[in-house]
Symmetry: C2
Subunit: 600 residues, 2 copies
């Protein structure tokens, strides 16, 4: 099995040469940090990936969690990893130092995230969920709640979750019916069902802390009646102990992939003894949750990019070693076979994989830079917040959707072996397929981008985005040798304007169904442009390094970047043409199709 | 679980209203047949699908074949199905009556194939392989061989296989090393290894008959030294019994999907006692095998279409029943949720699924019509043979590649449930993923189409194809209401000419690597056009039926056809734009990329 799951050289290229991670240390909040610390963090992440995560990647898939006697038993590496990761201070790494965190930039920690998911996606999820849940408590929970939960969450002893979905309320969260009844004791009593809760209960930790959505009795209908609660599996007692809190594990799902992590079904308050503590104000729960959700969406994108990275290196290794066939220009059967990496079509598949996950990784790091730079406040902070908002559905969806195709391309390179479980490709393919579903399906992301983000503040975020890409194009025009790329990006920007203007004119007509009918296609279209932008940035950095005299393996690395950028512009960005053609039609074909059109 | 896996109404629409199956009865070879017989065959196929195949669809996946004590144990439904299918005369249905067959048109039997694969792909494969292997013996084996094998193969007692692949020779068959040593007794002695042999050994039959490629000692290198042999697992003895033939099952593969059928590894002649009988002439084996292979490639396409059909009906049923969210134009949370089939994006996914498999089904039936009409001989026969040759890689690949995306779309409709194995979508998704790999990978098909078929006889097949599509467009122009479709098809044909001419000029320059670098993309491009053509044909038939006064459910069926055709032209055919743009570049980017471009 391939031993390489991610490239440290590439990650440092993106962080330092493309996204200027060091400049973040100039933000007051991060002034304690410097490149030495960043490098140490990255080196340790790769070491953890190699030693703690990757070794159990296949085994956790073949020995999935088991639900027996009311308990969900997980692979022993879960407890080992949670403990070591917690002790190392990684779960709270982005939290401020006064909260017991390390105040590290999100950009850096997103890079760490990439490494861990590439090494073992299922295992990487456990502490990640805890980080997200803890972040909600830190932001909105108040000191008492912080003291009660954060230390055990940061240490990896307690699992955090986000508990939103119910049997009747998945994409439509306004329809949750879990109810919260106030008591005089300060807590609420909860009753309901939650499903599809990742790591919602397991024996790899001592307790589970759910950040759960529910409706306080008498609350308004819809999303404006949703509140956020902390619901521990075991609740703290007055004497400092823990007692059961009437949150019962009802079952786990058997899934296509992502099998190392249990997705659970929970019964809450069956015995009317589930205590829950309100986070922040009543009825603002969905707004709070969206903080976690937006982080989670970037994490999903990063996870897909990470899995696709591991799949790429596994298929690259195979392609270099597997002899099969001969060059088309010299097919003499008396000559030995060549490694398949010499065939153009295999190189095409490899370049697709690479362009996909390196482009996605770059876009998500860019989003993280925006998140970090929000801390600057003022106009710049507001601009970064808007750009992050706009790009979040893109950074979630492009990697998620393309990750399925990218791992599938990797599987294809191995031919029949790719379809067999003695090679890891089929697992990467299965694992990756969750991403277009969880944390908001692709359809939901499309509606978010076109229906909400593009039009936000009268198109302000969208205009900022165009300005960012144009600035990149202008900068790239000053670098000799990138003319083919800048010309293509100019064309793509033209398409974006034309398509978006066309759709906005439909919106103005008031026909919201027709306006949003192809929102998913618009998201796909937008994704190619955003990733193209990131490849243009990478191409600039690579060309500059070559112009500055890079030699040997370094020069090869940069030339490989340029080949991959050209692959993306030639093969992937070109797909905007057909999408633009369809989006320009805006005839509402799917909106108008009726149930009777699906007769037989 | 959904009970519907295929639409009888649609199949009859395609057979009778689009492809005029009845006209085949005018071919002398088929003159015994008529619509009554055809309908009976189809009805029985659906009945078998429902009663014999569909019930074990999920179970065969969860209880895959087991290799124990040298034996591969398969699900009991294998023996039951092989017996009933054999007794019913289905295995030999296309064979002539003098061979014990029924002389039924291939077009009809391809339709049957569609039904069976939709019901249970893994189970449907067993007799199909026998039909293909038997066909080789019938065509090239001579009377003695026919008498020795065909009756037991047609009755379903013996399994047939095609045994080509070896550890060092998958896509590159010229590199097989299994050797055949002539003996004075009329048979050869074989020695070698075969891998990835579907149904290569199992306990659902009494014997296995391999149609195996090997090289006679001293044969020329490469494909011109390959011969075809019959190699039974148990060989006939002089007294009419059977004895072991030194073909040993070495193992089975554990696979992503297609789990109901064992893919085997065989050791041949380990004890120097494997007897093999030459089929036809020495050194012509690959040519013979390609008869079976071409049939198998259409079967693969049909299997992908069948699986995608079953996935479509399962997701359609879910979409009709699952309430979630509200119309974008009326989001009042006090109103009840609507079934998700009312959301435009769900309808888009459903229309994609439907346009994919109904389009593919139509193209493969068209190919089968060409195969049946070859029997006319003369100029028409030759034309049909050329069109079949040209379209085989397309009819194999479009369904195979798009089947993965189509089942994935079905999975997506179910959201989190789609990812869980309590619903069948994840199995359809896994099962379908084999098709771009077996019987020639997509990369191989691309080289076949562009490198061989388009240029065959100076472009004769390709010109016939253009003429066929143009004839459809001209006919469609006479039907009022299809102007949008004919305009788009005219445009697409213009792209085909431009792109193909451009690539052929590269071929003339002698740079074969650059000419074929994007052959896979060309195949994809060609696929959209070929399927668009089939949707135009369907649209014509549907519009005519409406113009002729179809009412009620029939009218709804035809209107649904038109909506699906318009979906295909709007969303899928539009993808030719980006592909044409890339193909026109023909810069050989992937051919030129070197190993050093994949540094880190």
């Amino acid at each position: 099995m391939a031993e390489k799951f991610a490239s440290e050289r590439n990650l440092k290229f993106l962080l330092y040469e493309v996204h200027d991670l060091e400049a973040l240390a100039q933000i007051p909040y991060y002034r304690e940090h410097n490149r030495e610390i960043f490098d140490l963090v990255l080196d340790t992440a790769f070491k953890m990936g190699r030693d703690l995560l990757f070794p159990s990647f296949g085994e956790m898939d073949k020995q999935p969690p088991e639900f027996a006697g009311g308990v969900c038993h997980v692979h022993p590496s879960v407890r080992a990893f949670m403990e070591e990761y917690g002790e190392g201070g990684w779960i709270g790494a982005i939290a401020s130092e006064e909260l017991g965190g390390q105040g590290l930039p999100l950009t850096l920690m997103n890079a760490v995230r990439f490494v861990l998911t590439a090494a073992n996606y299922s295992l990487s999820v456990y502490p990640l969920l805890t980080t997200g849940a803890a972040h909600l408590i830190e932001a909105f929970g108040g000191q008492e709640m912080i003291d009660a939960y954060i230390p055990n969450m940061f240490s990896g002893k307690w699992q955090g979750t986000m508990a939103l979905t119910e049997p009747q309320a998945g994409s439509s969260l306004s329809d949750i019916v879990t109810t919260a009844e106030p008591t005089d004791a300060g807590y609420y009593k909860l009753k309901g069902q939650k499903i599809f809760i990742s790591a919602g209960d397991h024996d790899g930790v001592d307790n589970v802390v759910h950040l759960m959505l529910a409706k306080i009795k008498g609350a308004p209908a819809g999303v404006r009646g949703i509140s956020l609660f902390v619901v521990p599996k075991l609740r703290p007692t007055a004497d400092g102990g823990l007692e059961p809190n009437d949150v019962v594990l009802a079952g786990i799902y058997h899934k296509l992939g992502y099998r190392g992590c249990p997705i659970t079904q929970l019964s809450i308050g069956e015995n009317n003894d589930c205590r829950a503590w309100l986070v922040g104000e009543p009825h603002l729960g969905l707004r709070y949750m969206f903080q976690m959700m937006n982080e989670a969406r970037l994490d999903v994108g990063m996870s897909a990019a990470g899995i696709a990275s591991a799949a790429y290196y596994a298929s690259l290794e195979y392609a270099k070693e597997r002899p099969q066939g001969r060059k088309l220009s010299s097919k003499d059967p008396a000559q030995p076979q060549v490694p398949i990496v010499e065939h153009a079509d295999i190189k095409r598949l490899l370049l697709f994989q690479r362009s996909m996950f390196e482009g996605a990784l770059s876009l998500i790091l860019k989003c993280a830079v925006y998140a970090d730079r929000e801390k600057l406040g003022g106009e710049e902070g507001e601009k970064c917040a808007l750009l992050l908002d706009l790009l979040t559905p893109v950074a979630k969806t492009y990697p998620s959707e393309m990750g399925v195709l990218s791992t599938s391309a990797g599987l294809q390179i191995l031919g029949g072996y790719g379809y067999c479980d003695e090679f890891p490709l089929e697992q990467y393919f299965r694992d990756c397929r969750i991403h277009p579903i969880h944390e908001g399906t692709t359809g939901i992301q499309g509606l978010d981008l076109l229906g909400r983000k593009v039009t936000i503040q009268n198109g302000k975020a969208y205009q900022f985005f165009l300005a960012e890409v144009e600035a990149s194009v202008e900068a790239a025009k000053k670098v000799a040798g990138l003319e083919d790329l800048t010309a293509k990006m100019d064309e793509a920007l033209g398409l974006v304007r034309r398509v978006t203007d066309g759709l906005l004119s439909v919106a103005l007509s008031g026909d919201v169904e027709r306006f949003l009918a192809d929102a998913t296609l618009y998201l796909e279209f937008f994704g190619y442009v955003a990733i193209g932008w990131q490849w243009l940035e990478q191409a600039m950095a690579a060309q500059s390094a070559l112009d500055n005299g890079a030699q040997g393996a370094e020069a090869a690395f940069y030339r490989g970047k340029l080949v991959t950028a050209r692959y993306f512009f030639g093969y992937e960005l070109a797909k905007t043409e057909g999408l633009a053609k369809r989006l320009a039609e805006a005839d509402g074909l799917t909106a108008k199709a009726g149930l009777e059109d699906f007769t037989d």
